[in-house]
Subunit: 339 residues, 2 copies
DNA sequence: CACGAGTGAGAGAGCGCTCTCTCACTCGTA
DNA sequence: TACGAGTGAGAGAGCGCTCTCTCACTCGTG
């Protein structure tokens, strides 16, 4: 049966003006909070608005203002990663949503899948459906952000874009976090410190590996590297490989908590005690980290803050303000039991 | 510095018409795929469109068509539950997005937080920003869906709304799933089968508990109930209580995987072996279920299908078609090691 | 008392598109 | 050859709102 659209003629500015005995312009002024309306008239208008249940028509409004008051968040949709139990995206979404809500803006969510998805997003943004676009966790040197920016569309990315063309971005201090982690391991006297890196076409993967290398460099330790793709399975596999490569390693820095969980399972199966035989440190501090066996020492990144700042920067950019080309959020080491 | 809006005068229908040497109406016909245009003219127009990089202005279009081609998905935003590592929402979002993308519609995400959030959502929908609204996992007898439906806005909910006023909904076969789970436990000769129920103001919590009671009723077993709120912690706590209440229980049906994980931890700590001493069955089959200790036997619900169907129904409703007032998706028992 | 500044409200021109109505023209048929 | 049906394209009226311009009116001041 279905609750079909009863139509319910929505009142227009005109109707309200008629009822309040003023002009359309005055109603518009009242509705938009212009200061140049006499209080008495304002009240009359507001009453009419209430009585008629008037709500402005957004299409008509944006037709003339050239704004839509909504912003797009583009997420890569790679089935396995996005929305696995990695909690990154939900938290980013929450942060973005909070910030936008406070500014009374709407969030349009776009999952960029295949190439077609790319096209669609570009057309959508260029078509002026939104006032700006946020990109989260781009894969590699995606040309889309720069392309949109060149079209004059406000764009902010999460994670430094790899291409030449800069768009403003916000990211966390990957290198600093890794430094804390590796420093912690060194302090505890670990000597053979390996790493499980993330995918090398994503900025987070790249920077965390670079951070690991930099942190070890000072200590004359040799680096031992395996590469995963941020999934639990890849963490397990990478750990197996590391144990093959260097059975005597006594610590691993893993570039994500999910991979760290996989690594912990491999270690357990291999009969290594954590942290006694092998210390493990992850990265992210998702909820999972508190429930691994043993609970995971990890580098916390303020995920939903990324979302908030991302949206905040975009709002400012769209408002015509100048924003800093990069905002780097701090990371911190959360010490639990795995290291 | 900021990549500021260079403006980049966007061409209008008029400009395209001028260039192609036809009228605005004809360009509109071509752009919207009307069949009554001579192929030669169509080509000329399309060339002009391409050369000018014309993209229709959505605000102008919806001003006259009264459509926006976008739909809202409303999720409750209770910090702890939403976007915890419960994977429900991400999967629903993905499903909804897929379905909408195929229809070339956009997804506007709204997190309903406080009462203010409610207001905002109502105003937004009534304002005509979207062509329809989906609600996922309403808390209790939320009046919003019915209120919007009464205003003539197409609405579909996930999970049967509790109020009197029906809106079309899609849900999974909770009772059937629970029946499979309890049946499995009975078959294996379990005699004292407890349950950890979900919150009793959510339809999923209510129906799964009712299903448990119904399934036991035939078997002359006594029901043993503790209530959680779908979080891992509440699962742990509920399990502790159950062990206190009836130390000799030999099976638990838990209304969510996350709570089941909590329950497993409590059992482990209490020295009970799973499944030897106590069999555990969860509900949801989120990714976590494959990684618990031991891997969790659980009732799978096709989460992203819920999203797809939700969106599909809404699209149909918004298109003026009649839809069935309820769609129930099947559940199935996934047997792993915990029972 | 006259004048100019300041204030509050209305008139009216669009914003870019769709869609109905109208009309010119091409055929097929008697 | 004449007529009616069918087809393809243009004219033009809005959709509901914002915003500039204009104007009437009220004061304060010289």
């Amino acid at each position: 049966m279905g609750v079909r659209g009863s139509g319910r003629e929505r009142p227009t500015l005109e109707k309200v003006a008629l009822r309040a005995g003023v002009s359309r312009a005055t109603v518009s002024r009242v509705v938009n909070g212009a200061p140049t309306v006499h209080p008495r008239i304002r009240d009359t208008v507001l009453r009419a608005v209430r009585e008629l249940g008037y709500v402005p028509n957004p299409a008509a409004r944006s037709l003339v203002t050239q704004r839509t008051d909504s912003f797009a968040l583009v997420l890569p949709e790679r089935a396995s990663r996005v929305f696995s139990d990695d909690q990154f995206f939900p938290a980013v979404i929450r942060g973005v949503h909070q910030e936008l809500e406070e500014a009374d803006k709407q969030l349009v969510l776009m999952l960029a899948s295949s190439a077609t998805g790319h096209d669609r997003i570009e057309r959508y943004a260029i078509g002026g459906h939104v006032d700006g676009v946020m990109f989260a966790s781009l894969h590699g040197a995606d040309p889309m952000p720069a392309a949109l920016a060149r079209q004059g569309i406000p764009v902010v990315a999460n994670g430094r874009p790899l291409g030449r063309h800069a768009v403003p971005y916000v990211d966390v201090d990957h290198a600093g976090g890794v430094r804390l982690a590796v420093g912690h391991l060194l302090e505890r006297g670990r000597t053979r410190i390996a790493t499980i890196a993330g995918p090398q076409d994503m900025i987070a993967g790249i920077e965390r590996l670079a951070g690991y290398r930099a942190a070890l460099r000072g200590s004359r330790r040799r680096s031992i590297v395996a590469v995963g793709d941020f999934t639990r399975e890849s963490g397990s596999a990478a750990m197996r490989q590391l144990l093959d490569d260097d059975p005597r390693l006594d610590a691993v820095f893993v570039a994500s908590d999910l991979m760290a969980d996989g690594a912990l399972r491999t270690l357990r199966r291999a009969g290594r005690r954590v942290p006694d035989d092998v210390a493990v440190i992850g990265f992210d501090d998702v909820e999972l980290a508190r429930y691994t066996e043993p609970p995971l020492t990890t580098v916390r990144q303020p995920i939903s803050d990324i979302g908030r700042v991302l949206a905040g920067q975009l709002l400012r950019l769209a408002a015509g303000e100048d924003i800093s080309p990069a905002v780097i959020l701090p990371t911190e080491l959360i010490v639990r039991e795995s290291a």
